[in-house]
Symmetry: C2
Subunit: 188 residues, 2 copies
DNA sequence: GTCTATAAATTGATAGAC
DNA sequence: GTCTATCAATTTATAGAC
């Protein structure tokens, strides 16, 4: 943990740049600079820009799984777990209301690609949210179909909220909507 | 209406290409080809790619305003109007479940820009949805704050739904969610 | 107004020294 | 493994003939 490999440094730099500028508008020179690594060196770790993008998505998915697993361990009540997720999103409010959701905006951009492998991988990020929330709704006693529907309700609300908040540059919109989502969770 | 100006042809071609490939990945050569116009000719109508993008967003906003105004004229009941909007979205289902929402995905991509003018313009597309739906909820008898909240609920759900449907390449997800939104509207 | 040719800049990727 | 220099391709934008 004290020493991060250059590979991980590059992934972290690329994640940030892709999030802030979009994948297409981010050059490998941007990423190399962010990681404080010479441009030519990038190619020692990743054959192509796309390979680096794949590694970034993979890191996103792993990070999500880790956080969800952590929440499962630390919070006993499924309703409290869902509220914890909302609290997490709220913590990233300032950047979310500027750049949108790191996962949703990345998935949206990749949707324009032809590359099926990338699209599937990006969908995996959103799938992580859906599966985990669905599990919580099941534990709240909802039947299979309802749990599925509620998880889609919730993640659609998330994604739409982050999209609007970013477009309007409005932390206030995000704040109010997340607050109302908390009430919604409590009412279920 | 029978003869479309080359300028309008270019805007239509750019709109399609930006929607399908994203703005950053679409070249002016792509657009010229789609419009069946020589590349050099593009610059006679638009000084830069960004100027063309601005014209595309402007066209989007105008088109939205026109459709909303048309709905106001043709449909008397505000609840039926909201259902009409859902029906409209459903008509574009196959492309929405492939490329996302033409307005939302464009706004999302532009959010990564620095250019404030573009961001504000893109936000205008989403603002059109919010203002119109808010007006309908007001006419349904909701108070100011509730109408605002409900319009955000609805448009966030829209945007999230189109994002997920595109990422999962799932018309089914979109279909089911829109159907549930219809029930939601009827229950209000 | 329309088109061809091309300039100018950017950027993904490689070669090869150390 | 690391870095510099550079290639090759792409793409925005312009020049100038018709």
């Amino acid at each position: 943990m004290t020493t991060k490999s250059k590979r991980d440094l590059l992934i972290a730099a690329a994640r940030t740049k892709f999030y802030h500028q979009g994948v297409a508008r981010t050059t490998l020179a941007d990423i190399a600079q962010e990681a404080q690594i010479p441009l030519g060196n990038v190619y020692y770790h990743f054959r192509t820009k796309e390979a680096l993008l794949e590694a970034v998505i993979e890191a996103h998915v792993e990070r999500l799984q880790t956080r969800f697993a952590q929440c499962d361990r630390e919070v006993a009540d499924p309703r409290e777990r869902l509220l914890t997720l909302i609290r997490w999103e709220r913590e990233g409010e300032s950047s979310m209301a500027r750049y949108g959701c790191p996962h949703g905006s990345l998935a949206q951009e990749i949707d324009k690609e032809e590359d099926t492998k990338l699209v599937d991988q990006a969908a995996g990020m959103l799938q992580s949210y859906l599966e985990w929330t669905e599990k919580q709704f099941r534990q709240l006693g909802k039947d299979e179909q309802e749990a599925k529907d509620l998880s889609i309700d919730m993640i659609c609300w998330f994604q739409g909220t982050f999209l609007l908040a970013a477009s309007f540059r409005s932390p206030e919109l995000m704040d109010r909507k997340l607050q109302r989502m908390e009430e919604w969770i409590r009412s279920l």
